[in-house]
């Protein structure tokens, strides 16, 4: 989900950059409170590269196949590093492959990164539910929710931005139909992304639990 150049009006683009600036500043502030932030930079960077690459994995949904968005998972694993990670990932995507755009980098980052941060906060609740759900079940449930929320929220903002900022006025009824339509089309994607995130969280819990404690 990237909004390309040329589509959105300048105030929205600038607003996007402002939000991204704020998100980045807030994340960096949280990161710099840690004992040794420079030690974690390579970790965050290599994981960002891995996420970037992993989002090229395709999942078959007949008759086509979709690629994963993974921003919920990114929030779950990277915590406050998720925002800078997405900023860098989208920058590289725009610069190297022409996906998204430089003017829309702010909007896209705010959209994806904001959703990722919320997914991270949501995921943290699994600690408090371990008591009555059991460790792995709480982990899987909240990973599912985080994964689904990550894509769902991003898709919602995406649809809203596109439809409300198109220059000529599309009538309000058609607009609402289009938003509902887009959301409905994204429901299966949310479910798949949620299941995938839950499976991945369980995998990491078994193989490398540190990765779930970085954030």
């Amino acid at each position: 989900m990237h909004i390309p150049d040329g589509l959105l009006p300048a105030p929205v683009l600038i607003g996007g950059y402002a939000l991204t600036g704020l998100g980045t500043w807030y994340s960096l502030k949280q990161i710099n409170r840690r004992p040794d932030p420079s030690a974690e930079t390579p970790k965050a960077a290599l994981l960002t590269a891995a996420f970037f690459v992993a989002s090229s994995i395709h999942i078959p949904i007949p008759p086509a196949s979709v690629h994963l968005v993974l921003n919920g998972l990114l929030g779950v694993v990277l915590g406050y590093y998720a925002f800078p990670a997405i900023l860098i990932g989208l920058f590289l995507q725009a610069v190297m492959f022409g996906h998204g755009g430089l003017t829309t980098l702010g909007v896209n980052t705010a959209m994806m990164g904001g959703a990722a941060l919320l997914a991270y906060y949501l995921f943290q609740f699994h600690h408090s539910c371990q008591g009555f759900l059991g460790g792995n079940r709480a982990l899987a449930l909240f990973a599912f929710l985080a994964g689904a929320l990550g894509v769902g929220l991003a898709a919602l903002i995406f649809a809203f931005l596109i439809l409300t900022t198109l220059p000529a006025d599309v009538n309000a009824g058609a607009e609402r139909v289009a938003i509902y339509g887009l959301m409905l089309a994204h429901l299966p994607l949310m479910v798949i992304e949620g299941i995938f995130t839950a499976m991945l969280a369980l995998f990491l819990q078994r193989v490398k639990p540190e990765l779930l404690k970085l954030g």
């Binding site: 390309p4 150049d5 040329g6 589509l7 959105l8 009006p9 300048a10 683009l13 980045t24 960096l28 420079s38 030690a39 930079t41 390579p42 970790k43 960077a45 290599l46 994981l47 960002t48 590269a49 891995a50 996420f51 970037f52 690459v53 992993a54 090229s56 994995i57 395709h58 999942i59 078959p60 949904i61 800078p84 990670a85 900023l87 860098i88 990932g89 920058f91 590289l92 610069v95 190297m96 492959f97 022409g98 996906h99 755009g101 430089l102 003017t103 596109i162 198109l166 220059p167 000529a168 006025d169 599309v170 058609a174 798949i192 995938f196 499976m199 991945l200 995998f203 990491l204 490398k208």
Partner: protein, 252 residues
Amino acid sequence: MKTGLDHYVDLQSWLHQWEPRCKLIGLTALIFAFAGVQNWRLIPYMVGITLAIYALSQLPLKFWLTRIRYPGLFLLGMAALLPFVAGETVLWSLRGISLRQEGLLALVLISARFLSIITVVLILLGSTPFLTLAHTLRTLGVPALLTDMLLLVYRYLFETGESLTQTQRSMKLRGFSPKLERKTLQGLASLTGTLLTRSYERSERVYQAMRTRGYGAGYRRANRPPAWGSLVGLSLCLTTALGFAIAGVILG
């Protein structure tokens, strides 16, 4: 993963020689001025300026053509319906499908903006090596944590991609064929988890390697002030951008 982006960075045009900080600020100002164009009367100026800069950059047309395809298709997919659904004034109608003037104008405006912005971005990227760009961001005050991360991500992207390809091959050679079922999702989750785990473990070794060569000691590169020519280019860009902004306000 090959991007072909750095193919033409060694040309000798004026744009290639333009001091990178001035170039980055100047072209970015232009890009945002273009993004702000709302009135179709400004389109010829926007396109004209873009063409002039592209000509100045001496980048071949082939570069533009290969890079424009993907984003172009993406934009068309999102905006192609506009002339049929947006606006009141029907220009032409056939069996309930009607072409509307406002929608058509909107499509023209969006496309012109898109093409101009993309072209200027391509000029910036095609005439500046990626590394220079990253260092320029740092000297312009982007936090070191971000630029350090950017360079590391860029460095390890290709290797991580290579290791994903290899693992996917090995899965295929053991009979894995993706279908929409639990087993497939499980396999792909393991694949992704392995990728993350290996990247994480590698990051520990990379960090050790960085430490043994003084990472964290903190250094600053000295910056030479830009030459006059570069500053003139920068002020031209800024004036143009300002012009577009003012024209936009006047034309409403």
